[in-house]
Amino acid sequence: MIPLSHIIIFSLIIFTIGMVGALSRRNVFIVLMSIELMLNAVNIALIGVSSAMGNLIGQVLAIFIITVAAGEAAVGLAIVVALYRNRLTVNVDAINLLKW
């Protein structure tokens, strides 16, 4: 039996890696992957807490998150494709028509 605190710390580390990646990487795909990492860190924490608490709410939410993440990926990639057709780039820094 792994103690809950270990699971939470593990998930926090993954969450932080995802967050730093999402904020610092310049390629849209890597940003998207980092965000997926954040969501999966949440799932790990939820399932850990759920088994420690002995109720199912966390697992229910984790399944919902997986579903929503799939939807998000679909919409996100569609937007990236549309943008790539217009601008021929997926670099976040080059996407700068709108500012101030």
Binding site: I8, V42, G58, F64, E72, V75, N86
Partner: protein
């Protein structure tokens, strides 16, 4: 573990069910309508929204007491009903102002209306969520539809860029929101607001650092849609790039939904953390108002200016949340209707100014409008007066309620700051009025009126004035809303 699933009381979710049927039905009907007549899909959507609006309104009398279903995860009370009407009204007006605009932009597609209805559905679920899971699902249903709508003109460079920016920030923040939900679950063992509140009270968790962190994360997650500082950076970019009807929609409906969810979570879920969230919201409120108004001063683009003004309005509405009293909730409810009237109107005017190759969102495009289109200029001045909060307009009454609530709760400094901000706001709103009345018009191609757009402008214009002069009907509805909502609290 033996799990029994009780049959939910479906009569409370009739508006949502109708909305799902309508949206899915539209996608089907869309297949049978020829490409050049997609406007028909819009008419069907509009009729459907009116029907759902009437059905929702029919619940009002029965909901003096809140009722829950789906094992207490879905609540229907007057607060939820009131906000659902705000969303449906906004959606209806948005459809009206979209009809012609989409044809001009050559993106008149049936999916547009279906997506808009799915978005409305998400918001309706969100305000009825009595469980953090339901609120999260509502947010995502809304957000995923809005991301697509924001990038609907897929050959427009600015538009796709706006969609990407909105999407990346939205998904990033939803990760943070989820971690907040997880922390609340870890600390209390439940995600249902009523149970969370009960556990916090029972175990004395009001100063638990985990819950305080969760509170920050939830505020951040909802703060994005609200566009409150420091999560307002997306707003001007997305507002400028997105199709103008969608800009109008985003500036009102998702903001209202996020506010409703914020109020429900903070008042019904973690109300014992009030000392902590009061400090947090106090700072956010002050910063949001000031940043919004000061940055709006420097804008040349009317859509960007209205974006910053909407950030400022989020600040004013936060006054009502902070006050945490009945007048505050009443003010929030009233203000959102008023805000829907005036903001939809102002953006409607920008759509009206759409000309060949010109988006019509530069302040110079308003030059001399009083000479060429006097009526249009007058109606714009009404919206500007209302946005600035000057009587006799609905915006004034709303602002008055919010300020009164904050004074009642003892936030004198904040109200003073808000009043100062309102003065600053006058300056940039009246730059538009100045361009319309004091400058001479340039020879310009035809404007683009449409029957739907004119109807929408007349409706919101009349409402702005009517509820400014005679606010009683809306005021008493808002009062009932606040009354049942706060009763549930104690």
């Amino acid at each position: 573990m033996n799990v029994t699933v009780p049959m939910p009381n479906l009569s409370l979710v009739v508006p949502e069910i109708l909305m799902v049927i309508l949206a899915c039905g539209l996608l089907l009907v869309d297949l049978f309508i020829p490409k050049d007549r997609k406007r028909v899909v819009g008419y069907i959507a509009l009729a459907g929204v009116v029907v759902v609006g009437v059905v929702t309104a029919a619940f009002w009398g029965k909901m003096a007491q809140p009722a829950t279903t789906f094992s207490g995860t879905f609540v229907l009370d007057r607060f939820a009903l009131f906000f659902k009407e705000v969303f449906l009204f906004t959606t209806g007006i948005t459809i009206l102002i979209s009809l012609k605009y989409l044809e001009i932009e050559k993106v008149s597609l049936g999916e547009y209306y279906a997506l808009m209805l799915f978005c409305t559905l998400g918001m309706m679920i969100m305000v009825s969520g009595a469980d953090l899971i339901v609120i999260y699902l509502g947010i995502e249903t809304m957000a995923l539809s809005v991301y697509v709508l924001a990038g609907f003109m897929k050959f427009d460079h600015k538009c796709t860029e706006a969609a990407l920016k909105y999407f990346l920030l939205g998904v990033f923040i939803s990760g943070i929101l989820l971690y907040g939900i997880t922390l609340i679950y870890a600390a209390t063992g439940s995600t249902q607001l009523a149970q969370v509140a009960a556990v916090i009270k029972e175990k004395g968790l009001a100063k638990n650092p985990l819950l305080v962190l969760a509170m920050f994360m939830l505020a951040a997650g909802l703060g994005l849609e609200i566009a409150m500082a420091p999560f307002h950076f997306w707003a001007p970019d997305v507002y400028e790039g997105a199709p103008t009807p969608i800009t109008a929609f985003i500036s009102v409906a998702p903001k209202a939904a996020a506010f409703a969810a914020l109020v429900r979570i903070f008042y019904h879920g973690i109300q014992l953390l009030e000392p902590q969230w009061q400090i947090l919201l106090w700072i956010i409120c002050a910063v949001t108002m000031t940043i919004g108004n000061v940055t709006a001063l420097m804008q040349q683009n009317v859509k960007r200016m209205l974006a910053y003004s909407s950030v400022a309005h989020a600040g004013y509405i936060l006054l009502g949340v902070l006050a945490a009293n009945q007048v505050g909730v009443q003010g929030i409810a009233f203000y959102f209707f008023a805000y829907a009237f005036m903001n939809m109107g102002a953006f409607g005017l920008v759509i009206y100014l759409r000309r060949e190759n010109i988006v019509g969102d530069d302040i110079d495009d308003f030059k001399g409008l009083a000479q060429t289109h006097p009526l249009l200029a007058v109606i714009m001045v009404v919206f500007l007066l209302s946005l600035a909060g000057i009587p006799p307009t609905a915006g004034f009454v709303g602002k008055f309620l919010l300020f009164a609530a904050a004074i009642k709760a003892g936030f004198y400094w904040l109200v003073a700051l808000a009043a100062l901000n309102s003065v600053v706001a006058l300056f940039y709103y009246f730059r538009i009025a100045k361009a319309m009345y004091m400058q001479s018009p340039e020879p310009l191609p035809q404007l683009s009126p449409g029957r739907g757009l004119v109807l929408a402008l007349v409706v919101v214009g009349v409402f702005t004035l009517f509820f400014g002069i005679y606010p009683q009907p809306l005021m008493s509805l808002a009062k009932d809303t606040a009354h049942t909502f706060m009763m549930f609290l104690s």
